[in-house]
């Protein structure tokens, strides 16, 4: 049931772009994206609902393909502050109480 994220890790230079993918084997109601800095709690970035998408944060956007049960997070012109581990969380159609099941995360490192 756990969504699969790729890549596991990515290293960027400031100003470069990156894409993080999230895929599920189950039909999804929504996809959430969170970022976690080392030693801190995850912070909400955005949620994408079935039938639409929501851009939530600076130069970070995302898409949600319901048919393919996939979501992608796009980081444009990366900044040092973008470093951290990104998690996608999925809510299954008909799932228990709309609980979020998270992927293993993608570690993003932005270098000067």
């Amino acid at each position: 049931q756990q969504p699969v994220q790729s890549p596991q890790a990515v290293i960027l230079r400031e100003g470069e772009d990156a894409v993080i993918n999230c895929s599920s084997s189950k039909a999804l109601y929504s996809v959430h994206w969170y970022r976690q800095k080392h030693g801190e709690a995850p912070v909400f970035l955005m949620i994408l609902l079935k039938g639409g998408e929501q851009k939530g944060h600076e130069k970070i956007s995302a898409s949600f393909n319901e048919k393919k049960q996939q979501s992608s997070l796009y980081l444009t012109a990366s900044q040092l502050s973008y470093s951290g581990t990104y998690f996608c969380g999925t809510v299954r159609l008909g799932g228990s109480q709309g609980n979020l099941i998270f992927g293993k995360g993608t570690k993003l490192s932005v270098k000067p």
Binding site: Y34, F44, V91, G98, F102, K104
Partner: protein, 114 residues
């Protein structure tokens, strides 16, 4: 405003000892509450969730238990810790209103079992 607090922030416990982690939420009523555990290489694993006082559901079998004695209080416990219980424990609640669905996480409790 809605806030969430959990404690202790850090603890080191011997194998076989008991555990109690507490979490409280302020600024909202009847929230959905969650306990997640983060271990190396496994991401965020959902352990328990609660939709109301005394209502606890477990997502994975383990030697941990959870309780919700009050509307905005969530407790994670163990009678006897195992080495495999080490990890970063996160309490979270779900918001209501225009951004319904967003999870707010507490600061986390880092548990080391020796």
């Amino acid at each position: 405003s809605q806030t969430i607090h959990q404690w202790p922030a850090t603890l080191v416990q011997p194998v076989g000892s008991p555990l109690s982690l507490e979490c409280t939420v302020e600024g909202t009523s009847n929230p959905n509450l969650y306990w997640y555990r983060q271990a190396a290489g496994r991401g965020l694993q959902l352990l328990f969730y609660s939709v109301g006082i005394g209502q606890i559901s477990s997502e994975v079998p383990q030697n941990l238990s959870a309780s919700r004695p009050q509307d905005r209080q969530f407790i994670l416990s163990s009678k006897k810790l195992l080495l495999s219980d080490s990890g970063f424990y996160l309490c979270a609640f779900r918001t209501s209103g225009p951004r319904a669905g967003e999870l707010f996480f507490g600061e986390g409790s880092r548990l080391t079992v020796l």
